[in-house]
Symmetry: D2
Subunit: 349 residues, 4 copies
């Protein structure tokens, strides 16, 4: 994909075209499905933090993205056409997709951990993405949506799935749970920790507006780290016992400085947020308190998708959708996200 897509004038797409900040709305050639591939007409697509990184053209983006590249990977749509050999989906199917295109051949893939595939290609990063009228994907990552799932919510399955995977790995039932990070995943994690019977859910962040949405979705208490000391607050709220489980979903150095002191001996810390550069760690605290630090990435393929599908019949996560815009107005949404005024922005091509 990606070769020569700007020659024709067949579809609208949002792409990184030049090695500098920003994105461009372009006319791109509508892709065609090859063997085992599926052409999907995109109905809605939401903006992820990864898209912000690519917009900013930060160090990671510069090292990873080959331009030109259509970006975006959280979406839903309808199957328009199938390539040869496609068996499980048919034109008209209402679908979304797993973002990690796993190889299926490596040790990880062959032992039930395809989300850790060593040859993974990421939609909207390593191949053209979903901020477009059409997208082509291999059948193996296409997921048939529950027909009752609203179009505006369906793109959120992918990031919500991140939170499902993280919260399930954390084990929150009956536990005191502290969540660092008031981005979408941290906010979704509040809803899930509440759903799975956490004794207490404390959301720690920097944006009052986002923290309030976290509270609406399930946090018992919100802690604004710009004015409060998260460790002191967690100790106070737990009667000195600290959290049984911490989910670190911000990647911030200051969050990590707090996270290891906010968890009780024998507790678990989920490492989900990505950081810039190295994080200084108080490793002796990990040792003396036998803390478990568990990295979590992506979603279990497809166990998390099944769970997500079922959870979304019970949980209403739509309060996290703060903005809905036509694809053309993407700039408005991106800027609100940069200013942390939005949580999830849904674009309609």
């Amino acid at each position: 994909m990606g070769s020569g897509i700007y020659n024709a004038h067949e579809m609208k797409a949002l792409a990184k075209r030049s090695a500098r900040e920003g994105l461009e709305l372009v006319e791109a050639e509508t892709p065609r499905p090859g063997p085992g591939e599926v052409l999907i007409k995109v109905a809605a697509a939401s903006v992820c933090g990864t898209d912000l990184h690519i917009y900013s053209w930060d160090e990671w983006s510069r090292s990873r993205i080959a331009i030109p590249r259509i970006i975006g990977h959280e979406f839903c749509g309808y199957v328009e056409e199938i390539g040869p050999g496609v068996e499980e989906v048919a034109p008209g199917d209402y679908v979304s997709a797993e973002t990690h295109i796993y190889c299926g051949r490596c040790y990880m893939c062959r032992t039930g951990r395809a989300h850790l595939c060593e040859e993974v290609k990421i939609v909207g990063v390593d191949r053209d993405g979903a901020f477009a009228e059409y997208i082509v994907l291999p059948e193996k990552v296409v997921w048939k949506n529950d027909p009752s799932l609203p179009i505006r919510v369906a793109p959120l399955q992918e990031p919500f799935g991140n939170a499902v995977h993280a919260v399930r790995r954390a084990g929150v039932g009956g536990k005191r749970v502290a969540i660092f990070g008031d981005g979408p995943i941290g906010i979704f994690a509040c809803a899930l920790a509440r759903k799975f019977g956490a004794k207490s859910v404390w959301l720690i962040g920097l944006s009052t507006a986002r923290l309030e949405i976290g509270k609406k979705l399930g946090a018992d208490e919100i802690i604004n780290a710009s004015t409060q000391n998260p460790v002191a607050e967690v100790r106070r709220l737990s009667g000195g016992r600290r959290a049984d489980v911490v989910l670190e979903m911000s990647g911030a150095t200051t969050a990590w400085a707090n996270a290891l002191f906010a968890v009780r001996p024998g507790g678990r810390v989920i490492a989900f947020g990505l950081s810039r550069g190295q994080i200084p760690w108080d490793l002796n605290t990990v040792v003396f308190n036998e803390i478990e630090v568990i990295g979590v990435v992506g979603r279990l393929i497809f166990e998390t998708w099944y769970e997500t599908q079922e959870l979304l019949t019970e949980l209403d996560i739509s309060p996290a959708i703060t903005d809905e815009l036509p694809l053309e107005d993407f700039e408005v949404g991106f800027q609100k996200l940069f200013r942390r005024e939005a949580v999830k922005v849904v674009l309609y091509p």
Copy 2:
């Protein structure tokens, strides 16, 4: 304990008497067992890294040790006298002891994790220790030794138990195991990883002499980090797949810089070694590879002791005993340890 022990001239002991480097051989009052306590005549005691810290009077020691203090906590001996209410041990019993005197009342103690007791007192640190002719301990930490266990080996149950706990938590059966740290625990871990069916055991350290002892006890390959690149070697030995399990038992910053890159996606890293200050961490590697970093400290009380007792009927760890000395010659042993020429030094009072 510890108050006024230097007035009489009843027993020999090794103590920190002044707030400066070094230890002194002193005459101390023989302690008496109070209610629930046991007086033990020490037969042998081995030197731990903690004792080296106290000798050096480093920052940690200065903040933790109240002088005067008899040190030492790895030992064996014979019960000499029991205090009121002692029921399970009797004079003449051949015993060692768990070093962590747990409170039995806190949340950790009451939920089966006494080794994480929040009010723990450590033998030879927070109360007088075993580098002496006699020691008094609460009955609850006293462990009856297997009568067939040699006196020279029995003190090693405590540090060997550290390795048992760490290796069991790691899960090594059928796995490629990389161990960072050629101190006693790393060397013991080699024997245990071999015993529990690790596919491969690679020991990484800085001392040729110690690495060779590790090889004798169970390592398939030894990697001298002063001349070899541990990550490159682990990759080479595993055909590019890296280790399934890493045990970090050195606490060195450089070891940690390697540890996270020596483990495969979905692998486990045991954090056991204590570090000076903070360790810079490549957290994104933990996240992207879903690495599990598990802190391990002490021994499960008393599950690890049972296991240790049984394992020592099958494994010969005596090659780790490099030096045996009368208590009076402690200085020789300590200096060899500081120079990394010794592994375990056993002192006889």
Copy 3:
């Protein structure tokens, strides 16, 4: 305990005095606390299935109970007097107690599994119990109640704790859960499965009245096994997929005949209900479907008590209390239980 308690006329108690069906209200000598023991004035005590067995004087009771014996083990009360050496509780404390008096010395006790103690003594079975004005217990099993816990609910901590232990072992978050058995523990399990985020909770039983209480406490659907086929219903409700988790809390042969077919491949079955004699098992189903059958008994000491205490600040289980009676009217309560008209009967001495 138990020797000569009927000589004096100091307190009222409910006892098995003769080797035949029934219980007797007797005058018994008020017990005195020995070293490490606590005298408790009983405020309320609830009736357990075990008490029904002893009343009936069935085969198990005949083989286990030494008469005369005061029975009853689910209770709360106030500390009246403490024996020598008692340190953690004081007169006036509002308490309940763990029913399993563990020895503290066996392998199970010393490795964090005191609830599986091989020398366990059970309150109201192996020593005098709580259907009396006073009871004496070792300090080590006494539990300080949350002051805000109502007296009528506090005795239920013990059976509710059974359900907490079972449901936690089951792992119900996001799962389809089928519970066989509409007794108190099955009903409590409904509340807990709901609390911990089960996707669906299906209660299977024989008593319409009890099933309705289960529905009130948390079951989504109730299945009356006297008129419906539980396996067919579970298949229908799950769209053919069956339950992810089954809790067998009846011990009935017919329930077991269904339980293994109501769970999906790779699913888990908690075995909690006690049966009369052997149960015919379709073992090939266990093998081919890799089912996990996990025995659960009692409560984790004291992890389950901590959890129970916290859960009861959030869950109202009082709808399970169907009857409250003075101790003298015990016969009314027992007969309603035998007729399955009651769930929990609380007696006030």
Copy 4:
């Protein structure tokens, strides 16, 4: 497959041709690989208990096998030809195959448990098998063998993989392990329990010859259940503590009657052996002792294959090969197996 294969005279095969006891050596049409399929020239194939059932034409066989059917599923060979779309194997590759042809589409397959596939087809049962000069299989179940693995051992990967999966699920490191069943899987389990550091390995069976092979491969003690009481022996050997782990690999009713009493409280029992009809269970023992009974079937696809491949570079299981015969002499091997004189019989077509 299977339709019209007896019209031509292209290859030799061992088939069930009539609905009665016995097998017949037939001339069958050499199969051709369709899309995604692989034609393999069989080099060696070993006899499994399933083959004995089909030979005997027992109740299970009659209900499952459509005749005519070529049987056999443990084999190795060389790829002769590949069908369209086959990408990972090539003519000349030295291969074996997973016996469970999973669908890849069901919930189990899509959540990493393909060995529990709800639409599974079994080689040599549901489609033509490996007791033939050629076999055709879908590429997805073909496994590339280690080139150094001897042809006579390679067919044993499949049953040895059963033992690998079972022993890994059991967790045997440092444990006392009792294995019921002296068939091939029980014997392989001895080797694996030894390899993975079991403290003790006790093999229980009925055939002196087979028990002796178990001893050669790793059992510390063998117990002949025809003359000894297995529970009494296990208690004696463990000093009264019983086994920590039991692997039931016989399916015999008497074995199960013993298995639950041979395991300690909190212990684990692996249910692997298939039984005829229902097994009477002492369920209260499961409950009171919190025993875990874990069904195990097949192999993890392909995690177990990777492990098996590596283990066979270290373990020599060839003593389990008691007979090697040309395919034509199959009757000799089958009869020795029926008389329990053989362990593994390898046939060469």
